[in-house]
């Protein structure tokens, strides 16, 4: 670590940013290399990144997981974990070189000159300290102030981030606040030291669409009002195009393209950017548009509609689920899914959509109401014994988080073979192996990966295992609980195509649970909008998207970000 000479001080850095404004960039990164030492040798996560952020500018860094976008930000703030190391390059803040700054210098820099907000704000807050005190702590880290003054300043900041009832919330603990409010508290802490640069690392991932919009609008307003610069790191091209003045695209540790969002997303030059833009769902894209190269050339036709008079594959009547303590998660929901039909369940967190998917999958018992499968009532069979029901293999589910839904001690083969052994009665042998390989093949999982364990596979590969497992026993109803929420857009595109072709080929009924309206629009013919455990609107895809009737549906549609900007939102 270099001492004095290049030593930046908080005041100097801040002053430098202010006076240096017109003269040069606030932050400049030149030819940055970051390497991680792992057991398989040294891995270069960032390989020669150069970028600059001018005072007051918002720079977006977009890329998929593993592209090095977060590592770049962590290198700038020097929050790299122990294994990571800046191997080459220079990081300058204002006029000072902070590449080799020591801990003391960095501490005065953090918060006062550069601050960060992270994904999952609740985890970033201390759970046993009231948020007001935490904000006061953030101020006190850079200047000395008394308890009373700290509280007043914290209150001002809470007002600045537009929290409702700031006088009440200042004494609240993080678990008493919603995810969106926690992120507001994080923002309040981030601006407490009046920094000139805010680094936002996936600030709205995990928040509901409507919350995402209000939080990002707030951040943008605060940035503009205080003349701060922002580095917005995101995988969401819609977010970047809406809020950034300039966007850099990263792939495998390198910057492949840099431009204004209008130019970048309308006429991408680099093949990777082009692929990324194509894979991001827009207001008018179809599943086939997302990944043109990998679409099956002869997609099977729509499955024939079932003859009138046949009972629907799934019929849910007045379904109610109350959890302990009288929390009503689902309050009287009725809908139908026909064979070969795809129905979307849309709603924000707390809408009861995941509870419905588990009720229908018979993993939990309903409090009231009926669930009919193929005309037979299955809701009254207790979930405890449903594993032995002959209908168990007809209703399968694909879970949200591909990592979390695979047993860490099973390899891919065992994961897919497990339901076959249990439900189809296959024993170890050629028939089992053949069926596992067939399912893996249909789900697009390379057969060479069947011996691998989940932690040795990528998110997309794990999602394929989850799908292969779900289709292994030839179910008739497939419940998809946010199947692509944890995946990169390019992987999402391929998985969506896969699911759609499975539906056509096998006449599968799909119950598609999602918060992503763009995805639901492409996948589903009929859409059900849920709020607080009740259906607020139900209708065909076109009706919902072009003529939404309920104000809540309209609000959801308005909050969807499209990469070409908010002006072209459908409707």
């Amino acid at each position: 670590m270099s001492e004095a000479g290049t030593a930046p001080s908080a005041a100097g850095a801040r002053g430098g940013a202010g006076t240096n404004g017109a003269a040069g960039p606030l932050l400049s990164v030149e030819d940055l290399h970051v390497a991680f030492s792992t057991r398989n040798g040294v891995v270069e996560a960032v390989r020669g990144v150069s970028l600059a952020v001018s005072p007051g500018e918002t720079l977006g860094i977009v890329g998929e997981s593993g592209s090095g976008k977060s590592v770049t930000a962590f290198a700038v703030t020097r929050l790299l974990d122990a294994a990571g190391r800046v191997t080459a390059g220079r990081i300058r803040f204002g006029r000072q070189d902070i590449t080799g700054a020591n801990h003391r210098q960095l501490r005065s820099l953090h918060g006062a000159a550069i601050s960060m907000i992270f994904q999952n704000p609740r985890a970033a807050l201390n759970p046993i300290r009231p948020v007001g005190l935490q904000i006061a702590d953030a101020i006190a880290a850079h200047e000395s102030l008394g308890a009373k003054e700290g509280r007043e300043r914290a209150l001002d900041l809470l007002k600045a981030v537009l929290i409702r009832d700031p006088e009440k919330r200042i004494d609240a603990f993080p678990h008493e606040l919603s995810g969106g409010m926690c992120q507001r508290v994080m923002i309040a802490m981030a601006i407490a030291g009046k920094p000139s640069l805010l680094i936002a690392d996936e600030p709205t991932t995990g928040l509901d669409v409507t919350t995402q919009k209000t939080v990002m609008d707030l951040v943008a307003a605060i940035i503009a009002e205080r003349g701060m610069a922002m580095m917005l790191i995101t995988h969401d091209l819609g977010l970047a195009s809406r809020y950034c003045q300039r966007v850099v695209v990263m792939e495998q540790g390198r910057i492949v393209e840099e431009a204004e969002p209008k130019r970048l997303f309308v006429a991408p030059e680099h093949p990777y950017t082009r692929r990324l833009v194509a894979a991001s769902p827009t207001a008018s894209s179809t599943i086939a548009d997302l990944a043109p190269g990998s679409a099956p050339s002869s997609a099977p036709a729509e499955p024939p509609k079932p003859a009138p008079g046949t009972p629907p594959l799934l019929e849910v009547q007045d379904l109610v689920k109350r959890f302990d303590g009288d929390v009503t998660a689902v309050g009287g929901v009725s809908f139908r899914v026909a064979q070969g039909e795809s129905v979307g369940l849309v709603g924000e967190s707390g809408s009861g959509k995941s509870t419905i998917s588990r009720l229908v999958c018979r993993l939990i018992d309903p409090s009231e109401g009926r669930i009919l499968f193929d005309g037979a009532s299955i809701g009254d069979q207790p979930a405890r014994g449903f594993h032995a029901s002959p209908l168990r293999k007809d209703i399968q589910i694909v879970f949200q988080d591909p990592t979390e839904s695979l047993n860490p001690r099973f390899n891919a083969f065992e994961c897919i073979a497990h339901p076959l052994r249990r439900l189809s009665g296959l024993r170890d042998g050629a028939a089992l192996t053949a069926r596992v390989r067939e399912c893996a093949d249909r789900a697009g999982l390379p057969l060479g990966l069947l011996e691998r364990f989940p932690h040795q596979l990528s998110g997309g590969q794990k999602a394929r295992i989850g799908i292969a497992r779900a289709i292994a026993c030839r179910p008739r109803l497939l419940i998809l609980d946010e199947p692509t929420a944890a995946l990169d857009v390019s992987v999402q595109a391929i998985i969506l195509q896969l699911l759609d072709s499975l539906r056509r080929e096998d006449r599968l009924g799909l119950l598609f649970v999602s918060h992503d309206l763009n995805v639901v629009r492409m996948m589903c013919e009929r859409i059900i909008v849920l709020r607080n455990g009740r259906i607020v609107e139900e209708g065909g895809r076109d009706a919902i998207f072009q003529r939404p009737e309920h104000p809540y549906t309209r609000m959801l549609l308005d909050a969807v970000l499209h990469i070409s900007g908010p002006s072209t939102v459908a409707g």
Binding site: R39, R384, A388, E404, R409, R422
Partner: protein, 282 residues
């Protein structure tokens, strides 16, 4: 698969020299316990009063005791008994405790509360005194030392398994197993337990050392193993009478054997977890 496991084990041990030394020590201990009777230089039981209380020499490496028996031979022979008591007690409490704990952690509810209170009551006793009482009541036999040691270890396994299963019971792969046709019982036995084993291996290893101390302690106060059977605890107890007269080797060598054994198993714990966890492999 086995070669991958071996390679992984070697990798963990190389990055962890302390674990490697501990593993080596544990291996030597087990070997000694297995082949002890064939490698001892003297008969551990045969007394020879003419040769009593001799300090360590080329003839008797660790000296002789008050009856002229070779201390080194007795140490070697005792390894089998001490390790066997510890291993069977730990296996017993591990098997019973892991299943009870896993069932409680998975099902929750009334059963969980009752078992939890029972465990609390058990832990409220001074555990060594509880073991003493049990051995005294059940009879002064080796099986009863095993049972008493197993029971006083049980609370730790129940709590540990309960906590580890509880955090995983709502994991996606547990729900997935249910959707794949597994009953609750099969989810516990075939999914949850294998996943908490690596974490419990640490507990097992720490516990082995503790169980050896416990068995030796019981023998030391005259419960359990009876003389003239060689046992580290008895040897320390008998030797303690001669410390005042400067016959240090009677206590020092069995004490050292106990200390090194316990140290070995304690150090092994962390390394074991790394070896057993498949996620640590790449």
């Amino acid at each position: 698969m086995t070669s991958a496991t071996l390679r992984h084990t070697v990798w963990v041990l190389r990055g962890n020299p302390v674990t490697a030394v501990a593993a080596g020590g544990a291996f030597v201990l087990c070997l000694v316990a297995l082949i002890g009777p064939w490698i001892v230089p003297h008969d551990p039981i045969a007394s020879n009063v003419a040769n009593a209380l001799k300090p360590p020499s080329a003839q008797n490496w660790a000296g002789t005791d008050q009856l002229g028996r070779d201390v080194f031979s007795r140490l070697v022979i005792a390894a089998r008994l001490d390790l066997a008591i510890a291993a069977s007690a730990v296996t017993l409490s591990f098997a019973v405790g892991a299943v009870i704990g896993a069932v409680c952690g998975y099902l929750g509810g009334r059963l969980d509360r009752y078992v939890g209170r029972f465990v609390d009551i058990l832990m409220a006793f001074p555990l060594f005194v509880l073991a003493m009482a049990m051995v005294a009541a059940l009879g002064n036999r080796v099986e009863n030392i095993v049972i008493a040691t197993a029971i006083i270890n049980l609370p730790f396994y129940i709590r540990f398994a309960r906590a580890e299963v509880n955090v995983r019971r709502n994991a996606g792969w547990v729900e997935a197993a249910r959707a794949c046709g597994d009953s609750h019982l099969s989810v516990i036995l075939r999914f949850l337990l294998p996943n908490v084993l690596p974490a419990m291996a640490v507990q097992v290893s720490l516990n082995l050392g503790w169980a050896i101390l416990n068995a030796a302690g019981l023998s030391f106060i005259g419960l359990g193993v009876k003389p003239p059977t060689p046992e580290w605890g008895i040897m320390v107890a008998e030797g303690a009478r001669f410390i005042a007269t400067g016959k240090w080797w009677l206590v020092a060598f069995p004490g050292l054997a106990l200390m090194l054994t316990v140290l070995c198993f304690n150090l092994l714990g962390d390394g074991l977890r790394d070896i057993l966890d498949p996620r640590m492999r790449t």
